[in-house]
Subunit: 339 residues, 4 copies
């Protein structure tokens, strides 16, 4: 079995996770990385024995022989980096979102579809064992037809300062584009329905400093879907207890809750505060296994020459819906989505 | 201490609960009941040693010396029965809603306010120990300012047939007026804010027979409140696991969940289905103690000549908001509420 | 229905609870109290409108016409107070234990049995809704035959100082006699078996000050029962999180846990400590309803002239087993119990 | 980094797990397997591309160049297979127990210690994230000194038939040697104390067919440890809800429960049975990650030439205690353990 040579573009928080996961995959070589920060590059080179290290993405593509690239650069560069990789005939694993503008994304998808390369999008929740367990229960009819789905993504308040610093430098795209795309994808994936109308509300009570950044600390979206499903979505940045990602599905025959409490593990602590279940503290902890699983699936897809279940179109839909949420919030009105 | 003489009007499911609770209160006599069904009256007379039994409300008021009346008749009669009781100078405990039409309610409130009688409205959740515990945490600042509140009231599917029969005979007022008024009251009570805009959605997937009755099986309302709070509300009639009444409050410093699972008691059962917490099955079980507590408070208010915290205006607001929810659902549009 | 006149003997912590509960019972009058502390007596007289207040138990019996007495005096006086009440032909509600010495208890039981009076023993857990729910599941065969039962009673560390002060003045009888009798009764009640052999261990790590008092802070007993059941029992005085009373039953078809976590209510709190279920803090809170229910049952037994399910013999057995536990701990050996 | 060549001896249920985990480890080659069943061998050869397949352990050692061997053969062969591997100068990963007889184990340990080879024993719970989290809390003093530890290992009833078939062919060593050694190791590991006295009880109520096999379906052991700790241990074979492995630690400042309910994942299901947390169904599911982690640690130890934290002596102690439990049960007496 031929060793797959993969390069990682971008070594931010998530890029480092992907680099480590690729390094640990059997049959795979972390052949190259490209990243602006030379200090980080040096550490990664040593830690994962990376033969080729660049500060420039295009140089990496030009100078190293690769089978695939893992794109974890800032969102604004994604479509360009996808196109460059396609020109080099590389398989692509790309973090969400595909891009920030709908037309740009559509053109990129055209190019992806014209190629025969594997394109894998980083909707890692689809590879989390809890979500997969729920998906299987739903698909096997155990809770009947879905009437309602509710999904929360609330970041821990510990991360607020670093988010503020980040948002001051470059626009995040807003709460819905930055955070809710995962929930939007989960909603579409579990219900097999498209979202037709949205109404978004929100507040900055817990982080008034976000007002001047035109960002939201807590946002809510109510969605009507095709097939008579309602979806409720909450996104936030200030959970005291940790990283709260929860999804509830109410079906005609039963109800599921995925991670109603963000349990860190199976330990309960009884102390002066009561009976406590410690919480997951951040996404690398909560989705550690899902991040490994999606890369394993990427490798499997390449080896079996099979497109992954999650498609570039799923990425486009997520962006379209998130933009409609932002429009609804900005105008305080119902927004119908026309794909 | 003088014994309080109380009459109960209406001996449906909830009327029987109130009758029993009044019978068991110390210092109180269940002096009379009025109710159409003579068979039920006979049983109640025997069980609770009721000296005066009537099939007609007015006769009860005319012929029995009472201090107070507990009105549990069908909602359409409430305002009339309140007025008749006020004419007899009786203190009034009235089940929600005060009435079905806003103008009628307003006039009734006028008459209540002109009298010096105690008027106690049956929003029993305000007397439930779980809600009171949360209320105290909120009011003492333990979760900071409220940003979001979510409240579910989902009836058990076991009660669906009897609801359908009931709704065939007399209109329930619709899901929002019939069920959500409790959640609306909880939202107003906990946030101390008024609701300004609503959007309601819903479906009958689990009970298509409700379509022809113009009823909803599952409804969702998103609400904007004064003071920058969003509220999410779900009402339903087909929970498989029991009577699911849950309220979540997200504050700037923490989050509370009241009855996230409708635990029947403190017992966990481990059997072939997994690790199970049995669920409350209906409102008389879930709110047994709250129903007693609200009557104790009614008696206390009479004895101490003090108006209860929950007012007739709270009842009016509940109806106004519920009607706006219905209007939003019917027209599939945002509805602003002007009080 | 004749009003029952009840006197309460002893107004310590639990005596006050019984006094209040009797005061609130319909059809019952809190006719008299006897208690050494005149300040407490004065408060109780006012709060509950008690017509007759004594500092001497015999005087109360002599001078007040009573139907029944509720004995909550220090354990060392119980048998004497029972005998005096029987001479006055009173029905008796007596707190556990009946007495401290086996022979004394046996003679007292003889006198109880010769009388036709109702004798109700304060094993309130038999009247707790959680225990009753489990009992019903067991008796209806839902978990098959019982193989193992585990029962914990751990007092909160907040109460340690007051216990130390109490134990300095008068011997508690030791951890097993003072605390475990409730678990012993629950074990006998749920399994319908007698305990034949015990081995007890323990430590004072969390409260070394108990060493000089010859008391235990944490004790464990393993028990063999007739009918091939094993019981594990833990008693303690230093729980950080509250008042931890838990019972587990492993049957051949399933397993039950009663209050695996001592949930104070149905509220979950999410804050910087994690996902928290607040805990019950002391026995008056945990068993508030059970204390009411046992008195209701006492009244019912008197009115229906029916001996209660829990008997004086149950009290004797509890003491016999607790003494065997103490003997086992003192001698570090297996002790067989011969009734 | 040199690729490590590892052979697996024994391809039963657990052997297959180890083979797969070794196959997936980066920097490691599953170079050979030896196993009696040729059909299984054929499947494994194909699935994991194993170059060398044997039906005889010694042949594998003779004919294949290996760095290490993973011994998962029947317990009765362990000491012999360890000695043969040492002669070939191989590093050894050995499943528990090291052997069935104390003298034989002691001689084997002598030989292990005389060699410079890494010897890693399969106490995988030490590599489970939940146990490690608890261990860290304990070691950092967060629950104070340990007073009591309780540990359950209850197999699912689904596995009973296959156990009965297995036990008919070859003796399991009994419930305590077969199952409780993991709990005994956890108790010693977490408390850092040795077990000095034990009393064991048990029953076959749920599986009377075990009587004739001289096996136990449910066993209980109470243990006194050095350092004033008591341990309670339950082992069983007939849990209705799944694979129940739970450990509780009561310290002077708090209490921990590891997997109080054997939660399969983070999903809660609400259906006609109540609010359900699905359970882990068997050890490969519950300890999937721990099995991977212990092999990673084995590889790390080899590469860094460092003996693992878990030693051969830990294996000996487990066997000595388990044998004492069996002796206690057989004689219904306290048994002191002299190491």
């Amino acid at each position: 079995m031929k060793t797959l040579k993969i390069g990682v573009a971008g070594l931010g928080r998530l890029g480092l996770i992907h680099a480590e996961n690729i390094y640990n995959l059997k049959g795979v070589e972390l052949t190259a990385v490209s990243n602006l920060d030379e200090e980080v590059n040096k550490q990664v080179k040593e830690k994962y024995k990376v033969p080729n290290v660049y500060t420039n993405y295009e140089e990496m593509l030009e100078q190293t022989e690769l089978d695939a690239v893992c794109i974890v650069t800032p969102s604004g560069f994604h479509t360009e980096h996808i196109r460059l990789a396609l020109k080099k005939n590389l398989h692509i694993f790309c973090e969400k979102p595909i891009g920030l503008e709908v037309e740009d994304i559509k053109q990129t998808i055209d190019e992806i579809e014209k190629s025969d390369r594997i394109f894998h999008l980083g909707f890692m929740r689809r590879f989390d064992e809890d979500y997969l367990y729920a998906k299987e229960m739903i698909d096997s009819g155990q809770i009947g037809d879905i009437s309602l789905i509710r999904s929360y993504s609330i970041d821990p308040i510990q991360g607020l300062d670093s988010f503020v610093n980040f948002a001051k430098k470059s626009p995040s795209g807003g709460l819905f584009l930055d955070m809710s795309v995962h929930d939007i994808d989960v909603i579409r994936w579990l219900t097999k329905s498209e979202i037709s109308t949205v109404w978004a509300t929100g507040t900055n009570k817990a982080a008034p400093e976000l007002n001047e950044l035109n960002e939201l600390e807590l946002g809510t979206v109510t969605m009507k879907l095709d097939n008579d499903v309602t979806a409720l979505l909450v996104a936030g940045r200030t959970a005291s207890h940790g990283y709260h990602v929860e999804t509830e599905i109410i079906g005609t025959k039963g109800m599921l809750r995925i991670a109603a409490s963000p349990e860190k593990n199976k330990v309960a602590v009884f102390n002066e505060h009561g009976a406590i279940r410690p919480s997951s503290q951040h996404f690398p902890e909560r989705f550690a296994e899902a991040y490994v699983n999606e890369l394993k699936d990427f490798v499997r897809c390449i080896r079996e020459n099979q497109q992954p279940e999650v498609t570039a179109l799923d990425g486009l839909r997520g962006t379209e819906v998130a933009l409609a949420c932002q429009e609804s919030f900005d105008g305080n009105k119902l927004v119908d989505i026309h794909y």
